[in-house]
């Protein structure tokens, strides 16, 4: 039992990846949380934006906000940077083990706003 309290690893579960979804404006949002360092909640929020012709959507502003499922915990915020055309990412430290919900607030270059939500489980190994 003690091992469970000492050794932890971040496991990216199914909920950690948001499916590629298409918005009414035909913008596909493909978002996921990729663990970067084991035994903590540090990871990268990676978001791919593409239009109906599968062309990357550039110039968007994306804010990621991580909240725990329980009230009383401070949320964590990060602004995503565009690393390649249509590919955005940000470091996010989900400090506590448990269920996290990452809210993505996407503002496209034309001002259109899109919101996405994905669940991440940071749990004991």
């Amino acid at each position: 039992m003690c091992a469970y309290s000492v050794v932890f690893a971040v496991l990216l579960l199914v909920g950690g990846c948001a499916r590629s979804t298409r918005t009414p404006g035909s913008i596909a949002v493909d978002a996921k949380f990729v663990p970067r360092i084991a035994r903590s909640g540090q990871g990268i929020v990676a978001v791919n934006l593409s239009d109906s012709a599968a062309r990357p959507v550039t110039g968007a502003h994306i804010t990621a906000e991580g909240n725990m499922s329980h009230s009383g915990m401070a949320p964590v915020f990060a602004d995503c940077k565009e690393s390649e055309p249509g590919r955005y990412q940000a470091d996010l430290d989900l400090g506590m083990r448990g269920s996290w919900v990452i809210l993505l607030e996407i503002t496209l270059a034309n001002g259109e706003k899109i919101e996405r939500r994905m669940g991440v489980e940071v749990k004991a190994d």
């Binding site: 039992m1 469970y4 309290s5 932890f8 909240n67 725990m68 499922s69 329980h70 009230s71 009383g72 915990m73 401070a74 949320p75 915020f77 506590m96 083990r97 448990g98 269920s99 919900v101 809210l103 669940g119 489980e121 749990k123 004991a124």
Partner: protein, 485 residues
């Protein structure tokens, strides 16, 4: 503080602290409408929580229903019980709605005799704990709102059909929690001078004050929970509704100071509205569920519980959480207490040559676990309360945006490093209280060999305490698979 009945110039007898004699507060509490005054804000708050829970943000940390219920209400509840008394039952908004409804519908039925005990409420208490874990209620504003609505509906239905305070006395799980925990409160509603009651012919404290013109018209309700003040002992079943205080024509009921836990060491006398503690297995079960439920509820928030559940699920070859959770509940709420308490009862009986059967012994000593159980609830709930103390500010800002400005989501509360010593303090107080109680009971049972009786029960307390300390130092892992709304 001078007793109101003492004559000027005459040396007043030494009286315990009486909250009703404190300036301003005492006057306010004597005001007949004080209960309504404190119920109205809580009713409005409940309405806001329900509306926000149903129609507000679906994320728990951003919703008033979840934030207020699972952080602030629970935290304040245990702290007020520790520092004062059962004032949350006094302010209960369910009763305001019930009283309003009773102006139109008068209940005519008496609660069935078979149900005049705590078994139903113990079952509901366990059910709430189970649903809390199964549906991760803390993470769902929608389900939290429905839980609040359910309480209102249940209180209305039960007290709509059945007379007196049936819901409070026999059904409400929160009420039962408060009744047990308030055994450790420093305040108690009790008579000031028993000799005044000896002279009383009207017994308004229980019958209610009648209209002088018509005996049938009650102008001030007496105790709805059947607690006759001169025979009442302790806070069990007392909702601090203050009806007896307002009804007493001799101004002989006060909110008196006392030694917390005193009622658990009192001789086993017949208590009004309750009877003998030693003949109430339902009350003893409530005390046991209260104590071990505290461990269970805290256990549900740490990593190992998920490992245990996963292991049970793989053993049972089931994917749903309910069966493994049911086994966990049975283990912690039934098997573990049964084994530990039966072992302690057997050992203490064997070492002293006592002929007392196991069950009466378990019932008697189960009350000794109450301080420890309360300490675990305190440590758990105060952690959430203090570490999330200020979160109500951004959540409220967000709820009424833009009137209170941009929400400051970074506001949380005290650091866990500050709160942990407070938790440890509660746990130390809890084990000290339980050990003192156990020793007191042991001394009563065996004047010659109290230590022989005490040691097995002390071992149970220490085991539970060590389990609680281990739990409190586990890293929290708040998992939620159920995102309602």
């Amino acid at each position: 503080l001078r007793h109101p009945s003492s004559n000027p110039g005459e040396a007043a007898p030494a009286l315990p602290f009486d909250l009703l004699l404190v300036p301003v507060v005492g006057r306010l509490l004597r005001w007949p409408h004080v209960r309504t005054l404190v119920q109205i804000p809580l009713l409005l708050l409940s309405l806001i929580m329900v509306l926000h829970g149903l129609f507000g943000p679906t994320l728990a940390p951003k919703n008033l229903a979840t934030t207020l219920t699972w952080l602030h209400f629970r935290g304040l509840l245990v702290l007020v019980l520790l520092c004062a008394g059962n004032f949350f039952c006094l302010a209960c908004p369910f009763m305001l709605v019930r009283d309003a409804a009773r102006r139109f519908f008068r209940p005519a039925l008496a609660w069935p005799r078979r149900l005049r005990n705590k078994w139903l409420s113990v079952g509901l208490f366990i059910l709430i704990l189970f649903l809390y874990e199964l549906f991760d209620l803390w993470s769902s504003p929608w389900w939290t709102a429905w839980l609040i609505i359910s309480y209102f509906v249940l209180a209305l239905v039960i007290d709509g059909f059945f007379k007196h305070a049936t819901f409070c006395k026999y059904v409400c799980p929160i009420g039962q929690f408060n009744f047990v925990a308030s055994a450790l409160s420093p305040l108690e509603v009790k008579v000031r001078k028993l000799e005044v009651c000896d002279q009383c012919a009207t017994r308004d404290c229980i019958r209610g004050r009648r209209d002088p013109a018509s005996e049938l018209v009650v102008i001030q309700r007496g105790c709805e929970l059947a607690l006759f003040q001169p025979k009442k002992a302790g806070n069990m079943d007392c909702t601090f509704c203050l009806d007896c205080i307002h009804a007493c024509p001799h101004d002989n009921v006060g909110i008196m100071g006392r030694l917390p836990g005193d009622e658990l060491t009192a001789p086993d006398l017949r208590r009004s509205g309750i009877g003998y503690f030693s003949r109430r297995p339902d009350l003893a079960t409530l005390a046991i569920v209260f104590a071990f439920g505290a461990l269970l509820n805290a256990f549900g928030m740490v990593s190992p519980v998920y490992a245990v559940e996963d292991w049970l699920s793989s053993m049972l070859h089931v994917s749903h959480e309910a069966p493994s959770l049911a086994i966990l509940f049975t283990g912690i709420l039934v098997i573990e207490p049964l084994l530990l308490l039966a072992m302690a009862a057997w050992l203490s009986g064997k070492w002293t040559g006592s002929r007392r059967a196991l069950l009466p012994s378990i019932m008697r000593y189960s009350y000794g676990l109450v301080p420890l159980g309360f300490a675990v609830w305190l440590a758990h709930y105060s952690f959430h309360f203090f570490t999330g103390l200020y979160t109500i500010i951004p959540v409220a800002q967000n709820a009424v945006a833009p009137f209170l400005g941009e929400p400051r989501w970074t506001l949380t509360g005290l650091s866990a490093r500050i709160v942990q010593p407070i938790q440890v303090g509660f746990l130390i107080l809890g084990i000290a209280g339980s050990l003192m109680l156990m020793y007191h009971l042991a001394k009563e049972d065996s004047r010659d060999h109290p230590v022989r009786v005490f040691v097995p029960w002390a071992a149970v307390c220490l085991l539970v305490w060590l389990g609680a300390v281990w739990l409190m130092f586990q890293p929290m892992e708040m998992r939620a698979t159920f995102m309602g709304g």
